[in-house]
């Protein structure tokens, strides 16, 4: 009946496929080259940031040492938002230009973004207990971060629920973009809501001398988070490329060790 399927998949017709697969095929080695620099930067910046944060920055006058959570909390919160925007951006690019690589990028970013959102929630909760006396309050920032986490989960769950990768990509892209419209709306809802979170963050910047070392530490950690995100996303996108393009010649050569990358 259809025993020809095995042999048929091996030889994609040359003319179209060359254009079609061009981007993943050329991007794969490029991603490989960027990988090690990103890892090195991530590790170096983390070490520098942790050193600054724990050994140079002094104890806070009002919060004591509990404020040192800031060195992961804020970078994680920032990254969770930046990654979402990047994801939505890649999805939009994919929908408009119909490039498979951009969909792969966005599915590679989603788990890391969700991870950052979770870390922001977790560290925020652990920070809230000593400062506000509660692990959780329904403040706009926290709520919006929680919603962001759910948006990530929704995107990943939807993609996991669809078997056909092409369909999964495009369906996921739609929800990611619709969600991105939602993020600023949530953000501006701060005005109409209890502003517990905002007040606390302002009090931290009262003493300028402390803020400078603290700020350095925070920025170093933020850069480390960037580097880490880039490194992991590149690694994941390479894995996704192999999974998705497994019937193409370049992946087959790669996997059997006939080319180096």
């Amino acid at each position: 009946m259809s025993d020809s399927q095995l042999s048929a998949t091996r030889a994609p017709s040359a003319g179209v496929s060359l254009f079609h697969y061009a981007s993943p095929q050329t991007f794969f080695p490029l991603a490989g080259k960027l990988l090690w620099p990103s890892w090195i930067a991530a590790v170096a910046l983390t070490l520098a940031g942790l050193y600054t944060g724990f050994f140079i920055a002094p104890t806070d006058a009002t919060q004591g040492d509990s404020y040192r959570i800031i060195f992961i909390h804020v970078p994680a919160a920032w990254m969770s938002m930046v990654v979402y925007l990047a994801m939505a951006f890649w999805c939009a690019v994919g929908l408009v230009f119909n490039t498979r690589l951009s969909f792969m990028m966005s599915s590679a970013l989603a788990p890391t973004g969700a991870l950052w959102a979770f870390v922001a929630l977790w560290t925020g909760a652990l920070w809230g207990k000593p400062t506000w006396g509660t692990y959780w309050a329904w403040d706009a920032r926290m709520t919006s971060e929680l919603i962001l986490f759910f948006l990530y989960c929704g995107y990943m769950a939807l993609q996991a629920a669809i078997d056909d990768p092409r369909r999964a990509d495009r369906a996921g892209a739609l929800i990611a973009i619709v969600g991105a419209v939602n993020v600023p709306i949530i953000y501006f809802s701060v005005k109409w809501w209890n502003t517990l979170h905002q007040g606390a963050s302002v009090s931290l910047t009262q003493s300028p001398s402390m803020a400078s070392t603290m700020l350095t530490g925070m920025l170093l950690m933020a850069l480390a988070a960037w580097a880490y995100t880039i490194a992991v996303a590149l690694m994941r996108v390479r894995a996704i490329m192999i999974e998705r393009e497994r019937q193409t010649d370049w992946v087959r050569q790669l996997a059997t060790g006939e080319t180096k990358a």
Binding site: T143, I147, L148, F150, L151, C153, G154, A157, L158, A161, I162, D164, R166, R167, R170, A171, L174, I175, V178, G179, V181, N182, I185, I186, S189, W192, W193
Partner: protein, 222 residues
Amino acid sequence: MIGVFLSVMRRDLLLAWRRRSDMLTTLGFFLLVTSLFPLGVGPEPEQLSHIASGVMWVAALLATLLSVQRLFESDEADGTLEQMLLSVEPLAVIVLAKVCAYWLLTGLPLVVMAPLIALQFNLTPDETLIACATLLIGSPTLSLLGAVGASLTLGLRGGGALIALLVLPLYAPLLIFGAGAVDAWRAGLGVQSHFALLGACLLVALAVCPLASAAALRIAQD
């Protein structure tokens, strides 16, 4: 375009009329959920009136979630959806017509029932009016967003729960503005901004959701 809009809407309404009990049951669901709250929360009157608008909104939202997944389901199962994709008319218009019919059947009755529930929860007439008005402006947005979720999860098993995961985060701002309006009024603040925001959400949803939903349907059928 107007023609197809009207006739698709008429078709969906007729289909629902054939199953009149549906409309009753949506109302029943809304009433029951809101009546369950006093049961679960306890009967203190001040506390009840305090949470009333929140409960009404949550109930409206759940009533939508519970039913919106069926919006395209039967059309998909029996092949009508294929015919819609092949129609000469823009798919977004057909989707909009279906959403309108859906809202007339599920959203509007909730708005009409709302005063009854407000009574159960001891709201003043002013507060009742505000609560109903927020529902009137907000529930079409719920339906529109729900339609996007429904078309994204079409044909996927576990659609019910997946739709909730996809759509509830999008509902959150509506819930905040909608339920917040009564509180703001009670606190003596203006409610214009709440209504302005709900209205803006509705307009954006009206422009974006039918297109997004149509795109999702095409993807689902590929």
